[in-house]
């Protein structure tokens, strides 16, 4: 098993039955493949879906239904769609139980750097800052900081995955 899938499998063990979960772009989306037996979760997508399902089968893509990474997905029975202001009322308002985020750096206290390397690459924070403030539990793959980006850190991650 490659290291990304190993991490995703470990993170999935943090999920509890009934959790509303937001998965970030990249490694966190793999977590959906390893949700433990008997645990049912509802996936929230920041651009306006509660109840996201697996990727759409080739040939059956619906252009109006994408995930936050721009890939065509399906939705589960009981899903709902809404605008961005409503989506962040759900997120910021504390209605998401768990957020799983990719990170550039995380320190041992749970401070997170995830949206820019000064002078090099800037992607923007997207919905990550709202998610770590609003979600009840946050989880992120852990790495030892090699270069301090403390300016961009905040003590928000409640559970680190070594």
């Amino acid at each position: 098993m490659d290291v990304k899938r190993f991490i995703a499998q470990r993170v999935a063990k943090e999920l509890r039955h009934g959790d509303v979960v937001n998965l970030g772009i990249g490694l966190p989306t793999l977590v959906a493949d390893y949700v433990p037996e008997g645990v049912e979760v509802t996936l929230q997508a920041e651009h306006g879906i509660l109840g996201s399902g697996p990727a759409a089968e080739p040939g059956k893509e619906d252009p109006d239904i994408i995930n936050a990474g721009g890939f065509y997905i399906t939705v589960q029975p009981g899903a709902s769609f809404f605008d961005s202001a409503t989506s962040f009322a759900i997120i910021r308002g504390g209605h998401v139980d768990v957020t799983i985020l990719g990170a550039l750096q995380v320190d041992e206290k749970g401070n997170l750097a995830n949206w820019m390397v000064p002078g090099k690459k800037v992607t923007g924070m997207g919905g990550a800052m709202d998610l770590v403030v609003g979600a009840q539990r946050s989880s992120s793959p852990w790495s030892t900081p090699t270069k301090v980006l403390r300016k961009f850190w905040r003590n928000v991650i409640s559970r680190l995955q070594p």
């Binding site: 997508a45 252009p63 109006d64 605008d83 992607t123 905040r154």
Partner: protein
């Protein structure tokens, strides 16, 4: 009132120096017909663009930026449009990044007559620089001000000629709130129907917010 017009006539409302709100999240809800018209049939320049992500590499948004007509950007995620990233490196003041929920709420407030709001998001990070901080209870909050545009460009799935719009699936995102927050709002729709043919229960954007309606001709 019939609000149907051509993309060229509608886009002529955009003037030099305007702030333009552009709906969509990546390709979902991206008003590509209107962006193509902005690229081909308008010379408005020195524009400020407000968009979640400033589009993908396939969008005409990139082409308008290549023409040098966008001088400022407000966005949350710019990883899909390398030109916006380059703008930020060349001139850090030209691109303002917000947490996505903060940008959404700034626009929502702009359309709802609310001047500002306090959010806990961004406290303790670079986002708080230059902003009023205030404590409510045991938590600190940042004051964020409302944001409006001169013109908004949004995309609907179905619209009636009075401007009532249905936005399907995950295309609602920013378009549904931007349509409330600009002085002149242009919607393009994949399907335009007669007044009375769109079920009122399915209206995502009430027609009162829409000033001009254009048939969708190109998609991202």
């Amino acid at each position: 009132m019939n609000k149907v017009t051509t993309a060229k006539d509608a886009i002529a409302k955009i003037k030099d120096g305007d702030t333009v709100l552009v709906g969509g999240f990546l390709q979902a809800g991206c008003p590509e017909t209107l962006l193509k018209a902005l690229y081909e049939q308008s010379t408005a320049t020195n524009l400020t663009v407000v968009s979640n992500d400033t589009g993908t590499k396939q969008s005409h948004m990139m082409k308008v930026m290549e023409q040098g007509r966008v001088s400022k950007v407000h966005a949350t995620y710019i990883g899909a449009n390398p030109l916006t990233g380059q703008m930020l490196i060349d001139d850090p003041d030209s691109v303002t990044l917000y947490p996505q929920g903060t940008l959404a709420e700034k626009i929502r407030c702009g359309g709802a007559g609310i001047a500002a709001f306090y959010t806990p998001v961004g406290v303790g990070t670079v986002v708080e620089e230059g902003k009023e901080k205030r404590r409510f209870g045991d938590q600190e909050y940042l004051m964020e001000t409302a944001l409006r545009g001169n013109v908004a460009l949004v995309k609907a799935t179905v619209a009636d000629k009075a401007g009532n719009c249905f936005l399907r699936g995950s295309t609602k995102n920013f378009g549904a709130i931007m349509a409330r927050a600009a002085d002149f709002v242009i919607a393009e729709a994949q399907k335009i129907v007669e007044v009375g043919e769109l079920d009122p229960e399915l209206v995502t954007i009430p027609g009162i917010f829409i000033d001009a309606l254009v048939q969708t001709e190109v998609e991202v």
